[in-house]
């Protein structure tokens, strides 16, 4: 024991090199302000449509998640034994836990169940630019109804989210898996080749019609390719496309677009794209994908109708429709389009701390502004004002209230605008109304 203590005295105190795991991120206050702004805006739209949120545990029994994400997914699932020797896994997405959740609480949940969820998921993926091991997913779903109105509502939610975030150019591409299936069947594409064709169709935007044709030629015959390409490269308004496709199953899409029109989703935004396939095999009806044409970052939101969400947890059938918003991509897009420039940190006003004699007046000012809903902080130590101003600058606080003995004697306050450097003296009694007038403007 004694020996130990002497030894500790002689060696340097041990510190651990501060670092974080590959594929994870720390967010500084300025980053978080932007992330929160985007998240809150999205959340506000969800709530305006009456969606509620739920939360599921970060850790689940491994069996709950295993085998739900295909072979690749199973490899990427974070799995380990907990301290009690149980096989557990980290949340890989929000869909499977939600399916488990709905199966468990179906009797307590209002049906249809409209839920949104914004939470973290983990994947043991190889980190790359824009690919993380820990990231947020942002989903909104209507579960337990196959009414076409739910597809329409999801389209309206998508539209309102992007409008509210400040995007002026965005395209909600829509299609129906029912339509694609009916086209593929009537052209005579064999059932087992169809999934491969769907995957190729998704590449049309990326590789162009000529390359797509070559790739299609390799798996279906030339007559079928011709027929398919004719449909896929069709142009015109939604109504024109729908009437040209009359021979196929377009009833669902007709209803969908008519109701979207009632929801005042502009046709310039909502684009009927026959070539949109969304490769995943669980979609069964309307599908969506959102692009920002000014930027080349791929889809920023996608999803669709799926049947039988909870089949792995219950025999009850739950049809659902929903989309996932690509939170990090949306953030990148907004940074690039300068839509986040106005997002600042939280404090709006800093009140100076001159000395012991003025402190009580400073606190009174702080409390008055806080009561009026103005984010206000008091500087902690009575040091030189220059130092207090530096702190305000570091925290991007737009206004500093200078309260020294002179101001107090004259029943005034001086307000320094940190951006312009301009100082303004007003009666103390007008302090709150001054900022109220500012904040509304």
């Amino acid at each position: 024991m004694e020996q130990n203590t002497t030894q500790q005295k002689t060696i340097q105190p041990r510190t651990i090199q501060p670092r974080i795991l590959k594929g994870t991120r720390d967010f500084l206050p300025a980053d978080m302000a932007r992330r929160d702004y985007v998240m809150n805006t999205i959340r506000r739209v969800f709530e305006r449509f009456g969606y509620d949120t739920i939360e599921t545990p970060v850790i689940e029994y491994a069996e709950t998640l295993l085998g739900k994400y295909g072979e690749e997914g199973t490899k990427l699932l974070y799995q380990f034994k907990d301290n009690g020797g149980r096989d557990i896994a980290l949340r890989y997405d929000q869909t499977v836990p939600t399916a488990r959740f709905v199966a468990m609480y179906a009797n307590q949940l209002p049906m249809p169940f409209k839920r949104y969820q914004i939470s973290r998921v983990w994947r043991a993926d190889k980190p790359a630019k824009g690919r993380y091991r820990e990231f947020y997913q942002c989903d909104v779903d209507i579960i337990g109804t196959d009414a076409i109105l739910s597809e329409v509502e999801i389209a309206a939610v998508i539209n309102d989210v992007f409008t509210e975030l400040g995007f002026t150019h965005y395209r909600i591409r829509c299609n129906s898996r029912r339509l694609i299936n009916s086209i593929l069947n009537s052209i005579g594409v064999p059932k087992d080749t169809q999934p491969k064709v769907l995957q190729l169709l998704d590449k049309l935007d990326k590789i162009g019609p000529d390359s797509l044709r070559i790739e299609l030629n390799a798996i279906i015959d030339v007559v079928q390719v011709d027929a398919l390409m004719k449909v896929m490269t069709m142009t015109g308004s939604t109504t024109e496309k729908l009437s040209a496709l009359q021979e196929y199953d377009v009833s669902e899409l007709k209803q969908f677009f008519a109701l979207c029109n009632d929801y005042t989703i502009p046709e310039s935004v909502l684009e009927f794209d026959v070539s949109l396939a969304r490769g995943l095999d669980y979609y069964t009806g309307i599908i969506y994908e959102v692009m920002i044409p000014e930027l080349t970052l791929g889809s920023v939101c996608g999803g669709g109708r799926y049947e039988n969400l909870c089949s792995m947890f219950t025999t009850r059938q739950f049809s659902g429709v929903g989309v996932a918003f690509g939170f990090d991509r949306i953030l990148m897009a907004m940074e690039e389009l300068n839509l986040l420039n106005m997002v600042g940190l939280n404090a709006q006003v800093l009140v100076t701390n001159y000395d012991q004699t003025t402190l009580s007046d400073s606190i009174t000012a702080v409390r008055a502004l806080q009561s009026a809903g103005i984010n206000t902080e008091l500087y902690m130590q009575p040091v030189k004002f220059a130092k207090q101003f530096t702190y305000a600058n570091q925290k991007q606080i737009p206004f500093v209230i200078v309260l020294g003995p002179d101001e107090i004697a004259r029943q005034e306050v001086t307000i320094k605008n940190m951006e312009t450097g301009k100082q303004k003296t007003i009666p103390r009694s007008q302090l709150v109304s001054y900022f109220n007038g500012m904040i509304t403007s």
Partner: protein, 202 residues
């Protein structure tokens, strides 16, 4: 669209006045012009007595005599099918109404003004200053569009005394001739809005 008021029915008026409920100012600057306009439509108004609703027997029209601030809201909610109001009021109220036409009377301007001896010389100087007005939304939008952040003090009337009382550094108010500004030692800095009476509908 622009027309001058005359006592004869202007040719451009093709309003079906039957069953129309028209809201006009009960008293104030637009009252005379509004009455004249309503009469030009062939509506026989008398506005006698304290009543706020006047049913005009031959034309079938109904006139509502209201505070001008309330007229956009009455029209937006469908309580009146039409209204006569100043563009200044309309801009401030932001009600869901459309302008049928300008009526050529009740001209005035909404201006920013400062005391004669004020160091504030330009619009940009208003940054961070206190501006008293009865038109907070209009002033807000005007300044915001020009990148100016000022403290707007909302006062319902007699805005012009605010600088003397150290309540504000500038004002934004309606002027017709400018005599009120002069009487309070104020000078115009900038016109925010040119206004006249307009006919509105839902």
């Amino acid at each position: 669209m622009y027309m001058t008021m005359t006592n004869t029915v202007p040719q451009s008026v093709e309003l079906d006045i039957r069953d129309q409920t028209i809201a006009i100012q009960r008293r104030g600057k637009l009252y005379d012009g509004s009455m004249q306009f309503v009469r030009s439509l062939g509506i026989e108004v008398s506005h006698q007595g304290p009543g706020l609703i006047e049913q005009c027997p031959t034309s079938g029209a109904c006139i509502l005599y209201l505070r001008d601030d309330d007229i956009p809201e009455y029209v937006a909610r469908g309580a009146a099918s039409m209204g006569i109001v100043g563009e200044n009021v309309l801009a401030e109220k932001q009600a869901a109404v459309t302008i049928v036409r300008k009526l050529g009377f009740g001209q005035c301007r909404l201006v920013l003004a400062v005391p004669k001896d004020s160091p504030l010389m330009s619009l940009a100087d208003l940054n961070g200053e206190r501006i008293a007005t009865s038109y907070p939304r209009v002033v807000n939008a005007f300044l915001k569009a020009r990148g100016i952040n000022a403290a707007i003090i909302t006062i319902q009337g007699s805005v012009e005394v605010a600088p003397e009382l150290n309540l504000a550094d500038a004002i934004c108010d309606i002027i017709q001739t400018g005599t009120t500004l002069q009487a309070h030692n104020l000078i115009e800095l900038e016109t925010v809005l040119e206004s006249e009476a307009v006919l509105i509908t839902q």
